[in-house]
């Protein structure tokens, strides 16, 4: 409920439309940002399973994507973290067996983006 309704405009009781959490961008809470180095990733899906916010999207690929050691990984592969919902908890970086995710401070990430 981002708009501010007056009390007369409210529906009956405390009822909200379902599935509204998609519109609630919790990424703004983040202090640390995960930076994923795709060239070191084995697409093992451990980070995907551990992410408490389901903020690491995946897709199916038959042609495959390049990863650790130049190998091509086919099937289900991960994509970049969805920064609309990633709260920066760092669990993915902690669990990653190849240490291909590093957590950097948001302001550093912002500055790096500005320089680009």
């Amino acid at each position: 409920m981002s708009e501010r309704k007056a009390w007369q405009e409210l529906g009956l009781g405390v009822e909200l439309p379902a599935a509204t959490s998609l519109g609630y961008k919790t990424g703004g809470w983040r202090v640390l940002r995960p930076v994923w180095n795709a060239s070191e990733c084995t697409h093992c899906m451990i980070c995907v399973g551990y992410c408490p916010d389901m903020a690491i999207p995946v897709r199916q690929t038959d042609e495959g994507v390049p990863g650790k050691g130049g190998r091509v990984f086919k099937g289900v592969v991960r994509l970049d973290s969805n920064l609309d919902y990633c709260k920066g908890c760092g669990i993915c970086a902690h669990e990653c067996p190849t240490k291909c995710i590093s957590m950097i401070r948001e302001e550093e990430a912002e500055q790096a983006a500005c320089k680009l």
């Binding site: 409210l10 009781g13 439309p17």
Partner: protein, 389 residues
């Protein structure tokens, strides 16, 4: 015309529930409420009603399950007393904000400690601020009719708030008296079926019920809840008129008894109002002009109507069956508030009586009238009826 049955107040509540035929009843046994649900369980077991009864392990779960059923779109009812109400308090307080028109019988019993199973009003007076409609009943007949009334008032689209129908523990709940039960078909037509316009289990229109609401919206929801409460008066009048067509009775916000020329008026809730009427008659027989006012609709409280009814009373005694420790008693507080705006305010006296089920006698109420008529009142200090020492 109905059929007269010799039944208790608890059975009268169960009779009303039989005719209402709720989809779901969830309750946990507690004296003196138990016989309501015992009787109703027989109706369920005998297939007389279509209700699903849910056995639960506590009153907290009873009200939680009732809320769940009502949110799903069912007509759900419950019943409790004293400690049971205390245990379900968390969910009782949540129900009005969720705008769920649950109707519950409350059989008034003293709150611990000391533990006691008999009548007083300390249970209900602890929940008057949370937003339930509160209706009080002098006897088994009123219990029956008030439950029928409460269902319709609670479920009205303008209201959608829960309602509690009170009766005195043991005095009303366990005493057998003649109760006129009106025709099943007429009553069922009157109570109707709950509208399903906002059922939780509507897969075509999914929604969240009871989400977190932070400082940006909580205040607005509470203001909307107050608005719904203010609509109760007009709805209560309309529904009362409809019910009158079946019962031939009136459904006022409060009952006045011989107050027109009264020089002293006693205010008292529930069963003791019957005792007070006998005391009024005894005093009137001696030529003393006294009367009684019995509140029925206690939440919302009809301040303006009460003020108008008591504008000519020179002295008023308010009898409370509970205390608000360190403050004026709950019913007395409401009457002082209601009468504040009169140009000529009456003298007032607060009395506490009947805690933990102590009997109150007509002679004691007559003594109250004598004290009021003598003018020896002290509006700032409550007095105690029937207390040793």
């Amino acid at each position: 015309m109905g059929v007269k049955k010799a039944i208790t107040g608890a059975q009268a509540a169960a009779e009303a529930m039989r005719q209402i035929n709720p989809d779901v009843v969830v309750a946990y046994p507690i004296t003196p409420q138990t016989p309501i649900v015992e009787q109703f369980a027989e109706y369920v077991a005998d297939g007389i009603v279509d209700t699903e009864m849910v056995p639960v392990e506590s009153e907290h779960s009873a009200m939680s399950a009732t809320v769940g059923a009502e949110a799903a779109g069912a007509r759900a009812m419950s019943a409790t007393s004293s400690q049971g109400l205390a245990l379900m308090w968390e969910i009782v307080a949540a129900t009005p904000g969720l705008r769920l028109p649950i109707v519950m019988s409350l059989v008034n019993r003293a709150l611990s400690a000391p533990i006691n199973i008999h009548c007083d009003h300390s249970d209900v007076m602890g929940v008057t601020t949370v937003g339930w409609i509160q209706i009080f009943s002098e006897n088994a007949q009123e219990v029956y009719e008030n439950l029928l009334l409460a269902i319709r008032v609670a479920e009205d689209p303008r209201v959608q708030l829960p309602a509690m129908v009170n009766q005195d523990g043991f005095i009303t709940s366990h005493a057998v008296e003649p109760v006129e039960i009106f025709d099943d078909a007429l009553v069922r037509k009157f109570v109707g079926v709950r509208s399903l316009d906002r059922a939780l289990l509507d897969v075509e229109h999914p929604k969240s019920v009871g989400p977190l609401v932070l400082p940006d919206y909580y205040f607005e929801f509470k203001r909307a809840q107050e608005e719904a409460m203010s609509k109760v008066f007009e709805v209560y009048r309309e529904v009362g008129t409809e019910l009158s067509a079946i019962t031939g009775k009136q459904y006022p916000f409060f009952e006045t008894y011989r107050t027109d020329d009264a020089e002293a008026v006693v205010v008292v809730l529930n069963s003791a109002a019957g005792t007070a009427k006998a005391a009024v008659d005894a005093m009137r027989a001696q030529g003393k002009k006294v009367g009684m006012l019995k509140p029925i609709l206690f939440r919302p409280f009809p301040y303006a109507e009460i003020r108008d009814a008591l504008k000519d009373a020179p002295v008023i005694g308010v009898l409370d069956r509970s205390m608000d420790f360190g403050a004026y008693a709950p019913v007395y507080t409401e009457f002082r508030n209601a009468l504040w705006e009169l140009d000529k305010r009456p003298a007032m006296q607060s009395y506490i009586y009947g805690l933990g089920g102590r009997d109150i006698m007509t002679t004691e109420i007559e003594a109250v009238f004598e004290e009021l008529l003598s003018g020896k009142v002290d509006p700032e200090h409550q007095r105690y009826i029937g207390l040793r020492g």
